[in-house]
Amino acid sequence: MIKNANTDLIAGLVGLAITAAFWFSLDPEMTRLSRMFPRAMIKIMGLISVLLVIRSFVNPDRRNLFAEGSNRRVLVTAGHFFAWGVAIPYAGFFVSSVIVISSLVYYLALANRKVSLKVMSGWVLIVLFEVGFFYLIFTKLLHIPLPGGFLI
């Protein structure tokens, strides 16, 4: 948790960083038609960010950040999601989904209860059924091919 953070300053600085990222990647050789609107928007965004930074010194909005619940669980959940996205083309949709979901269910459940091997085996079966259900619906019913990777 970050206590009593100046959210105006953080938002303003994030805005300025985004403004700079877009400003420096604006190709000077681009025609006027493609450049006109983004240039105007970059300037507007920069102006809003500067106003937020100014307000952060005059009348800042302060609050505790990441104050609700466990931040570690958020980090681990986000890590699982990114690992899932990266693994899909290599391990295939089915395998990567079963592994990531089982691991995430196990991790999140630990916050509330003890998880024995027997319970976990039952959960893996549920996950297999769930992923299989979605897999069949998408591939057979909706005819949307899911990535196979080197597995399935």
């Binding site: 105006d8 681009m30 038609l33 609107f37 937020l52 619940g69 466990s70 931040n71 999140l108 619906i137």
Partner: protein, 510 residues
């Protein structure tokens, strides 16, 4: 008239009826979960509509939307936690009723009021859209640019928290919309050296990431506390006809709440979340016994539930006519319409009239379907939801989210973009920059850019082409509205401060 009849004939298909019931049930299921919004319900269930014909896809999403807004009342009534932001005020009266052992009566009242609101919204949409669509013909590039700006300032001023942060979110969304191929110049912009960004940020990918992922992270953070306890007595009974009579015995309340719902719905960015609070407040002001509000009063429940369901169809008035979503869930509907090659405007009511009117009328069917689904299946759906542990819920919704994003263009890169945007959305939300202005900025950015560049191109003959943006009367009306909407929050703040100062002075003098 012929178009309307053709549309009704298409809807008489049993498959359509089945889809309506399935959609309402699915929406009710997601909407009843505290923290999961109607936008999330639409985003998660979106991939199931990809292979459907356009009418069936839209019917399914309309039904899900209707069911999700109604579903929010279940959690509000039973566990004092609004299932969706549209049911905040429902909890004020619904939960006290539950505590008195009248939970089923409260659910029945919410069901009937929601159905009435849903049908009223459809009627508003049927009668307001065609004239507004004809008016949209008078809109040139400059007017479209100002309409987009108006949408942005309204979103910023109506979104929770600070106006500046709302504007920052909107501007960030507009910048995201400029990535990829320029709509007029045709050049590739802001790819940051990544070829995968040449296709830009797909609107639905951004929608899914920004609306669903932050909620999932919240749910993971809060653990079991994310879902409350069920307190439903199996002995309790509530007569449907008695409840229906009770709801219709307050026509003034119904008419007022539905009208408020429609007015709020037409304003871009404002949806059921604002409508239900305003309608509740007005019902309290108009009541003969305002002091009893908050103790479990049916009047309050009728006001909130009828007004929030009006916004479902009602918020589609600006969407179908100008392409501007009246509420965040409409953005998903817009995405599906564009996916099927349907462009908002007068053509929707002429060339694609059968499809459009079919979609509108199907939302009326969905409103009616809420009654049997809610009264018969609601209890069962609710028990399933609350018996599913959160540690299964988070990965399961994650699975649907990843599948939905991938299925859009069969692209794993879209999944990664969705995850990055969703995580960024969660972090930005911590500093009060909410996802709704970002998404609406992304949608409005395209409209604004085309309007801006085309207006300037037509003004090339002038010394300053920018004057083209200020030449028409309609543009000036829109500019006036932009200025008022941007200045309004500051004016309201000034008035509040002045009133407080006066009160303090009065207290000191006494």
């Amino acid at each position: 008239m012929d178009i309307l009849i053709d549309a009704m004939v298409q809807l008489a298909d049993p498959i359509v009826i089945f889809i309506v019931f399935a959609g309402v049930s699915a929406g009710l299921f997601v909407g009843a979960m505290p923290g999961l919004t109607a936008t999330m319900a639409l985003a998660v269930l979106l991939p199931f509509t990809f292979t459907m014909p356009p009418l069936l896809g839209l019917v399914a999403l309309g039904a899900v939307y209707m069911g999700a807004i109604y579903g929010g009342s279940f959690a509000a009534i039973l566990v004092n936690t609004p299932g969706t932001p549209s049911s905040i005020a429902t909890a004020f009266e619904g939960y006290p009723l539950s505590k008195q052992g009248r939970a089923l009566e409260a659910i029945s009242v919410a069901t009937v009021a929601s159905a009435v609101g849903g049908i009223a919204g459809v009627l508003f949409l049927l009668f307001l859209s065609p004239p507004l669509a004809r008016l949209s013909l008078k809109f040139g590039p400059a007017e479209y640019f100002w309409v987009a700006m108006l949408g942005l300032t309204l979103i910023a001023s109506l979104s929770e928290g600070s106006v500046l942060k709302g504007l920052l979110g909107g501007a960030f969304g507009m910048m995201l919309g400029t990535m990829g191929v320029s709509p007029i110049g045709g050049e590739t912009r802001f790819t940051f050296g990544m070829p995968v960004m040449q296709g830009g940020v797909e609107m639905i990918v951004a929608l899914i990431g920004l609306f669903v992922l932050p909620e999932l992270y919240n749910m993971a953070a809060q653990g079991r506390a994310a879902l409350g306890e069920v307190t439903l007595s199996s002995k309790e009974r509530a007569s449907f006809w008695r409840v229906t009579k009770r709801v219709f015995s307050m026509p003034g309340n119904l008419i007022r709440s539905c009208t408020i719902g429609e007015i709020v719905a037409i304003i871009p960015g404002a949806g059921g979340n604002i409508a239900n609070l305003v309608a509740y407040n007005e019902a309290k002001r108009a009541s003969k016994h305002p002091e009893r509000f908050g103790t479990g009063l049916i009047e309050g429940l009728v006001a909130t539930e009828s007004s929030n369901n009006v916004t479902v169809a009602g918020s589609m008035v600006p969407l179908l006519t100008l392409g501007i979503p009246g509420a965040p869930p409409d953005a998903v509907i817009l995405g599906v319409m564009l996916l099927h090659g349907l462009r908002p405007g007068i053509e929707l009511f002429t060339t694609s009239g059968v499809l459009t009117y079919g979609f509108i009328i199907s939302m009326g069917l969905a409103a009616l379907a809420m009654v049997p689904v809610g009264l018969l299946g609601g209890r069962l759906i609710y028990r399933i939801i609350f018996r599913t542990p959160y540690y299964f819920l988070v990965p399961t919704i994650g699975l649907a989210t990843i599948l939905g994003t991938y299925a859009l263009r069969n692209s794993v890169s879209d999944v990664i973009i969705m995850l990055i945007l969703g995580t960024a959305g969660y972090l930005l939300k911590q500093v009060d920059v909410n996802p709704a202005p970002i998404v609406l900025g992304l949608i409005l950015g395209g409209i604004a850019e085309i309007g801006f560049v085309q207006a300037l191109l037509t003004g090339m003959a002038y010394k300053f082409p920018v004057v083209r943006l200020f030449q028409n009367q309609l543009s000036w009306i829109l500019i006036g509205m932009v200025v008022v909407s941007a200045a309004w929050p500051y004016f309201a703040l000034f008035r509040r401060r002045r009133a407080r100062k006066k009160r303090l002075q009065k207290e000191q003098s006494q």
